[in-house]
Symmetry: C2
Amino acid sequence: MTSLVISATDGTARMGELRLRRGTVRLPAFMPVGTAATVKGMLPEQVRESGADILLGNTYHLMLRPGAERIQRLGGLHKFMDWPLPVLTDSGGFQVMSLSSLRKITEEGVEFRSHIDGAAEFLSPERAMEIQRQLGSDIQMVLDECPALPASHERIEQSLALSMRWAARSRAAFGEQDGHACFGIVQGGIFADLRRNSAQALREIGFDGYAIGGLAVGEGQAAMLETLEATIPHLPADRPRYLMGVGKPDDIVGAVERGVDMFDCVLPTRSGRNGQAFTWHGPLNLKNARHAEDARPLDPDCRCRACRGFSRAYLHHVVKANEIIAAMLLTAHNLTFYQDLMAGLRQAIADGALGAFAAQFRADYGAAEDGG
Amino acid sequence: MTSLVISATDGTARMGELRLRRGTVRLPAFMPVGTAATVKGMLPEQVRESGADILLGNTYHLMLRPGAERIQRLGGLHKFMDWPLPVLTDSGGFQVMSLSSLRKITEEGVEFRSHIDGAAEFLSPERAMEIQRQLGSDIQMVLDECPALPASHERIEQSLALSMRWAARSRAAFGEQDGHACFGIVQGGIFADLRRNSAQALREIGFDGYAIGGLAVGEGQAAMLETLEATIPHLPADRPRYLMGVGKPDDIVGAVERGVDMFDCVLPTRSGRNGQAFTWHGPLNLKNARHAEDARPLDPDCRCRACRGFSRAYLHHVVKANEIIAAMLLTAHNLTFYQDLMAGLRQAIADGALGAFAAQFRADYGAAEDGG
């Protein structure tokens, strides 16, 4: 069970809080990805200082290494990774489809081989929920099938039917867990009728929150936003809405305008490890030689560690030299940027000024110095 | 010019302070190595929190990338890497011998090719001092030749003669720099007569401090300590003594007992990146499967971040998964261990109890759980 408090709306956008046993999540929220029990390159307190109220953990990675039973014996994921605030875990389904080999999907579940050591593994709706309970996850996601796009209406409809049967089994396996939440996942590709059917099917099962899955997989921003518009009206207003795996800063702004409350994405962390910094004037590629003697910080107004004390020239140097501190500083910066974007969106909704905020953001961000 | 204050002695061991323009260095001191303008895996404030008063920077690495002139234009090394406290730089000679290719040593200096891009480079005593001045180094080291051991008395004597001529040229090139210091380097392999001659030659030139180079290169701890005993009596008591590139914790204890004031070594940082943790009961290899379910911290009495909040099981997991946080946490732990060892040595000297401290250290440390 969770408690959703909507404090302000602006059009279809919402601002408020999701109250969980381990802490309150300010909405709209961005969840950094802590794949293998760590947000890569960051200490837990640094993630918190960036402004994060909640992390995402990956069931697939954790079940393979170090193993959910082991984490349970060690006191759960929060204690294991020294993160006392809420954690949302995915079901593992998406990574099974994208990372593992030799998959075989049946009504019962999915057989696959670990990408780490090739070991035979099995994931079912019941097993996915058991693992998330062992981890001690605050928000547990149902197992679903994630078909690759583009796909035909028929293929998506078949996949969706299986995902809805798995959603019912996942919900039953979750049962009642005081202070923990179970979210369903709307599927249906870019087909409005299937998205509506999926939302309806999940509402009949009844969930603490509703995720929108299967987007940001190559369909493009316009199709993604259209799909949100076709989906969100069919979701209950008194439950949080989570757009999985999204996204670029402008994706997030568009999705918040359409009523999404929660996001996760590897982009700020992965980009940070690849020498890319997000700024209000677009992304910068620190590998670029034009930064080599630039004494300015990434952003003079940013509160992150990279912007307090280090020049673009220094960041260029440590990126080129493959130094660990490059990943540390750019990840800290990017997570801070994402959290400050969310804070800006929350304030704009509270002020009834989201349209102006979004227009200003798009005007500034489109002026990317490095051309994106 | 520097100011050395010896507050206590115990046998030939000394405890005190080296006062520099940018800060005071507590002696005996361990200097973490910040090769390429970063102590790998650490933010500058984390290095400071470990207890470090001074860092070492590598002239060879910095001259090749990003270049000493560039660092000078950007305000010097301290500003560049956001480390306001003292920095000692080596002369580049050792790395030229160990990392570069196509070396040609003449009376004038050494021609070599960069290990990064193969570019032709040249280092002379005058150029080495110019680079260190451009970096803004607080303690600048003379250029010397570092012959590989084992080597004959004749070979070492020839090399030493060149190094002493280079020392005089380096000292002349350094000139007078208010608040900055220039250290000479005693060479001579493991030959007591050559070490004595080298110390005498350097004293005649006159330096702010005296380093002992060319040790810890395979001669073994016993030969290293014997060489210290043959060298240190010939160094002036009113100048700091720095044993370059040393070493293992028990090497440091033995060298402090023999009167060494300063140390640098990549061991705590490099070992941290390789999954090894130093403890008072010997080193631990976190890759070892026996740590996989061990809920204990590395050391319950340690004040570092790795020991406050993380289990050996977690450290094992992140080491096995090659996560950046493994390098961050184990480096922080190892640097804290080294600094706490130095603090323990300082206190023992102040208490006139160094013999008991060293005996206890050797008894505990020899009981390495992982067999070293």
